[in-house]
């Protein structure tokens, strides 16, 4: 299906039909190539950049003998539930052989059914959910290997689940789950590959559950980022048609400019431009300004900008100043040091690393700049 020719109604929430995910095929291919080489991937981006849509597109793209299953762990607060939700999603997939189902059926009830809750067989109820998780996935991997298939497990909102489990069952339990997942990822010749995403950074959750970066240190981070030119043009064209507007060079260009080619912003701006009779640079700029100034509406995209105090506590003043300076233009490390003579070099280096982890900045060699120009623009607008 070619979405370019389709009118596409702006969608600022909910579940996007993966057939209509535009401009992400290159990224999907990059991720699949990494997975095929045996590299497991976390997708790290702030909220609303399009991580879940990319996962959906991966599921939509792969074909036999590859299988991709997306599991959303939102709402999970026990390891048992984590396990059951994972197995429930695996159960739904029709591409597994009877042998796979038999293996899983040895551990769980209701594997053969399409409905009804999956549960651990009574006989194993004394065992920990983490150990059953490990055993079931090892068994599954072996059967998949025997069938010549590869399974990509796309696990969404894992950091939230880990945090919930830490709150409900204790940090140690969450830590064990993360370690179990790491062991599974590191098994040689495994037929299972992993993509892990979440809307909160792992480094914040790890602190909460008392783990170190080591439990996710095996993952090679990939970023969604903004759409490329072709993707941005295609999506803008379809969205303008979706609001009943005949796209032209001016309207398409304006929407791309003010959205920074971020799909979520494109959808939001198009949604807000529904009743505008002439979509040009001026009207899109006014709509963008209203969106940014409406803090409720834009919070999902701009929460990073209001999170400095939460993330950096006592260092927030320094961080704010640093972001102000970098909003004007890129800086190398020595310039940052020179701009903050009262702060220790190592402390500054640590803060910059955190700003990179938290998606504010990106490093090119020893030069730092804002990761998303559109966030940089919003930052400048909000901090006159």
């Amino acid at each position: 299906m070619n979405p370019v020719q389709l009118p596409f109604e702006p969608q600022t929430g909910g579940t996007l039909d993966p057939a209509f995910v535009v401009g992400r095929d290159e990224l999907v291919l990059e991720i699949l190539n990494l997975l095929r080489k045996g590299t497991n991937v976390p997708i790290t981006d702030p909220r609303r950049i399009g991580k879940t849509s990319v996962l959906g597109r991966i599921v939509w793209t792969v074909t036999d003998p590859e299988i991709a299953i997306l599991v959303d762990f939102e709402g999970v607060d026990t390891v048992d539930e984590f396990l059951r939700r994972l197995i429930t999603e695996i159960r739904k997939h029709a591409g597994f052989s009877k042998r796979v189902r038999t293996v899983l059926g040895g551990l769980f009830d209701n594997i053969e059914l399409h409905a009804g809750p999956v549960s651990v067989k009574q006989v194993f109820s004394a065992r920990s959910a983490a150990s059953i998780l490990e055993e079931s996935l090892i068994d599954l991997s072996e059967q998949l290997a025997a069938d010549g298939k590869t399974l990509y497990l796309l696990l969404d909102e894992v950091p939230i689940a880990a945090r919930n489990i830490a709150e409900r069952e204790g940090a140690a339990t969450a830590h064990i789950l993360l370690q179990t997942l790491r062991r599974l990822r590191q098994r040689p010749d495994s037929a299972i590959r992993w993509v892990i995403t979440g809307s909160i950074g792992f480094h914040h959750v790890l602190r909460q559950v008392g783990s170190t970066e080591g439990v996710v240190g095996d993952l090679l981070s990939v970023s969604c980022g903004a759409l490329g030119d072709d993707g941005a043009n295609a999506l803008t064209d379809a969205l303008l048609r979706g609001i009943g507007y005949v796209p032209d060079e001016i309207s398409v260009g304006a929407l791309i400019e003010f959205s920074g080619s971020i799909p979520f912003l494109m959808h939001h701006l198009a949604h807000r431009l529904r009743n505008v009779s002439a979509i040009d640079r001026e009207s899109v700029r006014a709509t963008f300004d209203r969106f940014v100034d409406d803090r409720d509406a834009s919070k999902s995209f701009t929460h990073l900008l209001s999170r400095v105090e939460t993330f950096y506590g006592d260092h927030s003043l320094v961080v704010n100043k640093m972001l102000d300076q970098l909003a004007v233009g890129p800086m190398d490390f020595e310039s940052v040091v020179a701009a903050h003579p009262s702060i220790d070099r190592e402390e500054l280096r640590r803060l910059i690393d955190l700003l990179i982890d938290d998606h504010y900045l990106v490093a090119e060699g020893s030069t730092y700049s804002w990761r998303y120009p559109i966030l940089q623009r919003i930052w400048m607008r909000r901090r006159p």
Binding site: G14, D17, F20, G75, A115, P117, H271
Partner: protein, 650 residues
């Protein structure tokens, strides 16, 4: 803040006219369609989302955001009815609430409908919510049996029915309350269930509560939000017309179709706010040819609203109440600095409290003709989001027997003084109307509406409004924003309708009418120097003609023929008007080189004055009364009418 909760009396009364103010869901599908205005594009979007969900994995969840009375229930009821009709079955139950389902095949895929009760009192947990959704389905099974199921079983049942019969489209109101009841954990589970594709939400909420507005909330960014804006003046007019048509009130329908009708609606909008429910309430109170019934109905409406607003005010913090009180007492839009000055609260606290009041929909930034012209774009004026809240304070401060100001404001802008059947009015109603038309707002509304017998207003007052209008038009809106909200709104409505010259000429006409008897004075001079450069001579001539009120005179008039023009008054019954018109032309000649030499005007003016003096003496001798200096004779027609005639002549 919200519009009042259901009031049985009021609702029952309204239902008799065929429109339910508070519970649109009880209306038939036909009645809902008949009364539907303005929201059709939103309805179409919902229809597209349901159609897409029925065909594939897309789940574009709708969240309608608006205060109570914004038309959410009406929209949801119509979305449900249309979806059900699309499925070929309207299974709405007679009580219009709760269990109502339809599920039929629509092409290759199908979908199911579940309309939850508007007031979610029975939903106290996530489990209750699942039960309600299941209970709303035709295939939902036995309620008693469902009650025995666990949360997870209920989720599975919903997933199972969705996988076989299509996604469940859930029509759900007061989402904020439901999310609060199901707690964060329930919200996470609900999101997960919805992500699986089993559910499509068409939901509404009065506010973006923490669960919806917090970035950490599971359902943040989950919905495509659509804010239901207040009705525009044209949409409100359409709604009033439809309701009047429904009750067979052809006089009101006809009146609303005139330019004056639109002007009235515009001013009422400023007095009452633009929420559909308020228009619905007023539509049943406002009748163009029933002054008695309208006055009584308005009083009853305000009476019903008072306890509600009292209760709402009681829930505010002392500082919040102080700010609301200041806005009502000052009767105009205020800046943070103004509020700080009036209340004695420091500016930072005022800002914080205003944010709270905005969240609770008590106040809103003013977005109007004058604020859009403000040279300082950072300056924000705040006013009451629900102007009718004034009713509480006015009820308390009004002395026994005196009508409340709000009633006078409404009456003064709604009725045409000249069209009323004064002789048949009851004394109480007559008193209310006289007070209304004698008020500043009433007088100014008439002046701006082109009626020039409203000169009871002090000319100094009208002049001050004119000066503020010009300043506001030129971007120095601060002085315009000092006007009371009602006056400012009337002026803004006139500016939007007729532009600056049209608005100013009406004010000028009134002022000149009032001071026409005066000899040269400082005030006259000030008036002249202010207005003359701003108004076109041609237009002033038309103003003069409307005072004359005689078509024959108009027909005789040729440009620059002051002689014939003024002579006609010497032989007519309208000598006082003649004086004024001649004075006016004389006055104009001083400022415009293109007019006749001033001497002739001066001469005619003197002759007319002498004749009028003689008339007045005779009248006094016969009747014991003099002509009032400013109302020597009742003119006929209105400025626009005569302007048109004048334009036709020349």
């Amino acid at each position: 803040m919200a519009i009042p909760d259901p009031s049985a009396d009021l609702d029952a009364e309204a239902t008799m006219t065929g429109t339910s103010i508070y519970t649109p869901s009880t209306l038939s599908a036909e009645a809902l369609e008949e009364l539907f205005v303005a929201r059709e594009p939103i309805l179409e979007q919902i229809a597209i989302r349901i159609a897409e969900a029925s065909k594939g994995p897309s789940r574009n969840h709708t969240l309608l955001v608006g205060p109570r009375g914004a038309g959410k229930t009406h929209l949801i009821a119509m979305a449900y009815n249309r979806a059900a009709a699309c499925l070929g079955s309207t299974a709405k139950t007679s009580d219009g609430k709760g269990k109502s389902t339809a599920r039929l095949s629509a092409g290759r895929r199908s979908f199911q409908l579940s309309w939850l009760p508007e007031d979610p009192w029975g939903i106290a947990s996530y489990r209750h919510l699942l039960l309600a959704i299941l209970g709303g389905l035709q295939s939902g099974g036995d309620l008693a049996a469902n009650r025995m199921l666990s949360e997870e079983d209920l989720e599975n049942q919903l997933s199972s029915t969705a996988s076989t019969d299509g996604p469940i489209v859930i029509f759900l109101e007061n989402l904020d309350q439901i999310l609060e009841a199901i707690t964060n954990k329930g919200q996470q589970r609900l999101r997960h269930l919805a992500q699986s594709g089993a559910l499509l939400f068409v939901a509404s909420t009065t506010r973006l509560s923490r669960a919806l507005a917090s970035v950490d909330g599971p359902l943040y960014g989950f919905f495509t939000e659509t804010e239901l804006a207040p009705l525009t003046v044209d949409e409100a007019k359409e709604m009033l017309t439809k309701i009047a048509q429904r009750r067979g009130d052809s006089a009101t329908v006809a009146a609303l179709s005139t330019p004056q009708g639109l002007s009235r609606v515009r001013t009422v909008e400023h007095l009452a706010g633009g929420q559909p429910r308020i228009w619905s309430i007023l539509a049943d109170s406002l009748s163009i040819d029933g002054a008695i019934s309208t006055t009584d109905a308005l009083l009853a409406t305000f009476d019903h609203l008072t306890p509600y607003y009292q209760e709402q005010l009681g829930r505010l913090s002392p500082n919040q109440r102080l700010i609301i009180s200041a806005l009502i007492d000052e009767d105009r839009a205020l800046t943070v600095k103004d509020i700080a000055s009036v209340t004695g609260i420091d500016q930072r606290s005022v800002s914080g409290t205003l944010t709270e009041l905005r969240d609770r929909r008590w106040v809103q930034p003013v977005d109007s003709f004058f604020t859009r012209k403000l040279s300082d774009k950072r300056l924000v004026y705040y006013d009451l989001a629900e102007p009718l809240a004034r009713v509480v304070f006015q009820m308390k401060s009004t002395k026994d027997g005196e009508p409340i100001r709000l009633l006078l404001d409404f009456v003064s802008v709604w009725f045409d003084e000249d069209a009323l059947d004064w002789l048949n009015l009851e004394p109480e109603t007559r008193k209310v109307l006289e007070l209304a038309f004698g008020s500043e707002l009433g007088g100014l509304s008439r002046i701006l509406g082109g009626h020039f017998d409203a000169s009871e207003l002090p000319p100094e007052f009208v002049f001050s409004v004119a000066k503020a209008t010009v300043a506001g038009f030129q971007g120095m809106s601060e002085s315009a924003m000092q006007l009371s909200t009602g006056i400012r709104s009337s002026v803004e409505a006139a500016l939007e309708e007729r532009g600056l010259p049209g608005t100013l000429s009406n004010m000028f006409a009134c002022i000149y009418y009032s001071i026409s008897h005066q000899e040269d004075s400082e005030f006259r001079s000030e008036i002249g120097s202010f207005f003359a450069p701003k108004l076109e001579q041609k237009f002033l001539r038309s103003v003069a003609l409307c005072w004359c009120g005689e078509e024959e005179t108009a027909a005789r008039l040729r440009p620059h023929s002051a002689e014939g023009f003024s002579e006609s008054f010497l032989v007519s019954e309208s000598r006082s008007f003649g004086i004024m018109v001649t004075d006016l032309l004389f006055f104009m000649s001083c400022w415009s080189p293109s007019t006749q030499p001033s001497g002739k005007y001066s001469e005619y003016s003197k002759r007319l004055r002498r004749a009028a003096k003689s008339d007045n003496k005779r009248r006094k001798r016969l009747t014991g009364e003099s002509y009032p200096s400013s109302v020597a004779s009742r003119p006929s027609g209105s400025i626009p009418d005569f302007q048109n005639k004048f334009e036709a002549v020349i």
